[in-house]
């Protein structure tokens, strides 16, 4: 899922999936609960966003929401352990009795439901519910925001236009094929998934709410989003967009069937649509002591907050799972010239841009790879780019000029586009306040090196949806990505290869064919260590091409009120372990 993280730190735009962080993440401020956790009280969250991207499990793909609602509302077959440190990155059984039984070279996965698991109306959760829930992801005309692994993995024929023969539970087409791919045992407690190819990571996917159960009789289609049925310790009492989401205890939920969830607060209220400045002021003056800021502060307020020693126990500054990057349009007529792309890289004033968004301390550091160090074995430092002796973090316009000078003869077309005042480079950006500011810096730095550049602002709300269209018109795109789980297979092919979100337009470049061949080889490699080495090579290859002009390894901050207890980082989501949260009495 693509991200537009550079634009803002609000969670709406961070719609990527989760990442498995195995490296040591920096955690400041947060410490495991020292006081005894206590039941009771109301836990508040507040956010500037007016509504959740999705409450319907089928559409839920935002890391934060998966963590939040996966803890409170929806149980899934498997779940990440709700524990601090690297233990949190491990899977555990949730609705199922175990994390899944693979067979047939991981082409078949089998799960059995835990006894006593129920819906909020008291009825038992059955295999049919799981099967129905899983099927909804195929109804792409109704649900368009969730992950689509189910469609590409399940053993269902593909039609000529690339879509699945099965069109979801609301249509009759392809139902037989689906019934064959997903089967239930006679006692309706065991579900079997039959896949097209080996997917050793299927158990990770089974932690996504989109794979969870949906009761067919309660399904209201599009409207289900407003009041999905809960299986966790809380249920929805009220969901009013732009107002609030109120969760109350689900009295049908039994601790006996769910040893993991603690459910400390009596109520959970998420206040929606709070003005950003109000929200920041609330944080800084601790006006909602039992509340948590869901968005993070605006950069400047963030700095003020983090400079305040009295807030030391109400904040953390961690490495988040995201890599943000600047994509070049590598197609002909745009930046189809390595020298020009390189010149842009060296001309960029990264220092000012990072300062603008919170500095190296809070925004992030320059990256040297598309894969973030969090990903563990798949990350290795690359050569060149930020390690090049000519690289200056504040920009090196002189070197950029020499590169451009070489480009003049090497690739006159791209040079002309980049320097001719009548043409010039175009940079499509979402129309947000921070972008407007950074555009000033980007334009100034590139002009210094002799580029002609114009920022084209596009409506922020429809920016992401139009990326497919923009990618062939603009010369740059800013975006971001986080791995879905701890394998660069959810990064490199998606970003540079034939995955979902390759905005580089590199398909027609001569360097692409050898690259994609290697990618496919790596994907089918069963030896994990060998695979990691192959990913190292491939990231070096792509970075050498400057398909991405620059990458930043981002950081993330969270702040909360003085009465919040149990704030600890949950590694897979870079969020709180919601399960541990309680109100200090």
């Amino acid at each position: 899922m693509s991200v537009n993280k550079l634009t803002s730190r609000r969670w709406v735009s961070i719609t990527a999936a989760t990442a498995l962080a195995v490296s040591v993440a920096m955690v400041s401020g947060a410490s495991p609960a020292s006081a005894a956790a206590a039941k009771g009280g109301t836990l508040y969250f507040y956010t500037n966003s007016e509504q959740f991207p999705a409450l319907d499990p089928t559409n839920m793909y935002t890391g934060r929401d998966i963590g939040l609602f996966g803890t409170y509302l929806f149980r899934t077959l498997t779940s990440y352990k709700m524990e601090a440190g690297s233990a949190g990155t491990e899977l555990t059984a949730d609705l199922a009795t175990n994390t899944g039984v693979p067979s047939n070279k991981a082409k078949t996965w089998k799960y059995t439901l835990r006894p006593g698991v129920t819906w909020e109306d008291g009825s038992a959760i059955t295999c049919a519910d799981l099967k129905y829930g899983f099927s909804r992801a195929f109804a792409l005309d109704v649900f368009n925001a969730g992950p689509t692994y189910a469609i590409s993995w399940l053993d269902i024929p593909t039609l000529a236009d690339g879509s699945s023969a099965y069109k979801g539970p609301y249509k009759k087409t392809g139902k037989a094929a689906y019934d064959k791919a997903v089967t239930c045992s006679k006692d309706n407690r065991t579900i079997t998934y039959n896949l097209k190819r080996s997917v050793p990571d299927f158990n990770y996917f089974a932690s996504y709410p989109t794979t969870g159960p949906i009761k067919a009789s309660a399904d209201t289609g599009d409207k289900y989003d407003l009041h999905p049925m809960a299986t966790g310790p809380y249920k929805i009492k009220k969901y009013a967009i732009n107002d609030e989401l109120t969760l109350v205890r689900n009295d049908k939920w039994k601790k006996s069937s769910d040893p993991m969830r603690k459910a400390y607060p009596d109520d959970i209220v998420i206040k929606l649509g709070m003005n950003e400045d109000v929200r920041d002021e609330v944080d800084m003056t601790d006006q909602i002591p039992n509340g948590i800021n869901m968005d993070g502060l605006q950069p400047l307020n963030n700095i003020a907050y983090f400079n305040d020693p009295t807030k030391a126990k109400q904040r953390w500054n961690i490495v988040d799972p995201f890599v943000t990057y600047l994509t070049a349009n590598n197609s002909a007529g745009h930046l189809d010239c390595l020298l020009v792309r390189k010149a842009v890289f060296f001309a960029y004033d990264n220092q000012s841009l990072i300062d603008l968004s919170g500095g190296l301390k809070y925004y992030g550091v320059m990256g040297d790879n598309i894969v973030k160090p969090n990903l563990g074995m798949d990350y290795a430092p690359t050569k060149g780019n930020i390690h090049d002796p000519n690289f200056k973090i504040g920009g090196n316009p002189e070197y950029a000029k020499t590169l451009l000078e070489q480009a003049k003869t090497a690739c006159p077309d791209a040079y002309d586009r980049a320097t001719n005042p009548a043409k010039g480079l175009k940079y499509y950006r979402a129309d947000t306040a921070t972008n407007k500011k950074s555009a000033v810096l980007v334009e100034a730095a590139l002009k210094k090196a002799g580029f002609v550049i114009e920022t084209v602002y596009k409506p922020a709300g429809t920016y992401n949806a139009n990326l497919v269209e923009y990618k062939s018109q603009t010369d740059f795109l800013a975006s971001g990505w986080a791995a879905d789980w701890a394998n660069a297979s959810t990064v490199i092919p998606e970003m540079w290869g034939n995955g979902c979100c390759n905005y580089t337009k590199n398909e027609k470049t001569p360097e692409y064919a050898p690259f994609i061949a290697k990618v496919n080889k790596a994907l089918s490699e069963l030896d994990r260590k060998k695979q990691a080495t192959m990913w190292h090579e491939l990231s070096q290859y792509g970075m050498d091409q400057y398909w991405y002009i620059r990458t930043v390894f981002g950081k993330d901050q969270a702040t909360w009120g003085s009465k919040i207890g149990g704030m600890t980082e949950w590694k897979p989501f870079s969020q709180a372990i919601y399960n541990d949260l309680y109100i200090k009495q």
Binding site: Q298, D355, L356, T432, A433, V440, T455, Y457, A460
Partner: protein, 327 residues
Amino acid sequence: MPKSVKDAALIEPAKIEGEEVTLRTPKQIALARFKRNKVGPYSLYVSLFFILAAFFAPVITHLWGLSSTDIYTDGLDEFALPTGGFGGISWQHPFGLEPGAGRDVFSMLLYGSRISFTVALVTSVASIGIGMIVGIAGGFFRGRIDALIGRYSDFLFAFPSFFMIIALSYPMVDRVEKTGIARGNNARLLVLIIFFVFFGWPGFARLIRAQSMSLRERDFIMAAQAQGASNWRIITKEMLPNLWPTAIVFLSLSLPGYLSAEAVFSFLGVGIQPPASTFGLVLSDAVKYWKVDPSYLFIPSAMLIIIVLALNLLGDAVRDALDTKSE
């Protein structure tokens, strides 16, 4: 009753019973009244000062050794905040530096007010021009023309202009750019002005229409008609001179209105975009920094208040001076 009353002194010149007996022209009277107003001349000087400053922005900034596009990152700290007190105010940067990008606020505001004034002036003048023509046409010819204009302006009034501007500005800018008339901010400026004028003129046209209807009934127009003057002559020689005071008052009062409107649309992300820096852009940016850099919010706010206040008071003074009824 006394038999004889001794005369005290000569009767002072000027007016009796409020009736003008001097031989001054209306223009002179208005000018004298304007000068007599305590606030009028000062608000004129202040307005002129800012308008001239905006007009000569390149000269002033050059003389000061500044540029509105240069980035003075030396003056910013690791979080891109201006170093030194009061938003980095110094002799070199009299209004300090812009936090984040490090531009000089003084030159930003000079150049910014240039754009703001352009929008306000062009829009006002164009609205007045169209409103004048349409208003006179409606008020003077009446009948079908008037009905048609009335219905059309009703339609425009009913139109939710605010949303239309927000929703349509992106595609409109696209279209303007495609025609090649203007690019980038010039295109956005053009679109903003077109929208403002499009939705702005009916208000003024109504005003003029009402006035020309009553003017039409006045004796001197009747007299001109009786003498067989052509409609064109009546409109240009008899009506227009009586309508321009309204236009001037409208101008001085709509200027600050459009200044504020530009600010609001910039805040909402419609209209002019950085690296340009209109009042709206600077203010909406400054709100984010109020806690760490209050002077960055205070200076443009104060400047906008002074300009709007001066223009409003100027408008009041002009109206008072041209108003033949009061006093």
